[in-house]
Amino acid sequence: MFYLEVQNYLPNDVLKRTQKEFFISNTNREQSVFRAIVIFPVFSFPKITPKNLFSFLGTNGERSRPDPRFKMILWFIIAGTKGGVNRAKILNLIKDTPMNANKIATVLNLDHKTITHHVRILSKNDLVVKAPKGYGAEYQLTKIMKDNLNVLDEIMRKIGTK
């Protein structure tokens, strides 16, 4: 891993010399300087990687894999709380088309108060956001929720199997 990164920064003759130096004892001052110079780009690689460098792996440079922390939060909100399944259904319903609480209640055949409660909890957890309209405002997914929709899809598949 180390030399793989070094090859990107050093020409071949320097590489051969530095490889030798790397294996000798660490009493040489020159080698210490070398380490300070070479190790820096290796360990700071994620910081210097330009954004969208690996965009060909996903869509528009967005993450193709879900954020594990977000995944844990979403799983807990859905699988670890009372009425979590209904929360998942709400998120799944409004992922494509924003809806107001009344419409969600009608489609899911649930009480309006229940929907309002669930939406408030989802809103507090930054999963949905209310459009700035006032009465009858529509709810839509937040950016972080949209970015991690595959986690929701995974949960919905599990719900769908029952």
Binding site: A79, G80, I155, T161, K162
Partner: protein, 100 residues
């Protein structure tokens, strides 16, 4: 003088009650969403339940029957009380979050 052993057992009973509520919710969710996550939640809550059942069983049997053990246990009862009360506070928060 406060009977810390009795207080610890009361806290253990409270923990069992709170864990019953938690397990009830988790099992309801597990019946709809079958996954390693829901099963894991039930398993963790069940293990905590076993821990508290062991404490209560210990109090009912060993502690009550053996006078020598009772004296030894009383010497460390306040530690057990603190542990159980912290667990009660933690489980209360978990139940509050779970039932919201």
């Amino acid at each position: 003088m406060v009977d810390f052993m009795l207080a610890a057992v009361v806290a253990a009973f409270l923990n069992i009650g709170l864990l019953l509520v938690t397990i009830g919710t988790y099992v309801q969710n597990m019946r709809v969403i079958r996954s390693y996550y829901t099963s894991g939640l039930v398993l963790v809550a069940a293990l905590l339940m076993i821990q508290n059942i062991v404490i209560v069983t210990f109090w009912f049997t060993l502690y009550m029957d053996d006078k020598a053990l009772m004296m030894s246990a009383d010497m460390v009862a306040h530690y057990l009380f603190v542990i159980n009360v912290i667990q009660t506070i933690g489980l209360s928060i978990l139940v509050w979050i779970t039932r919201r």
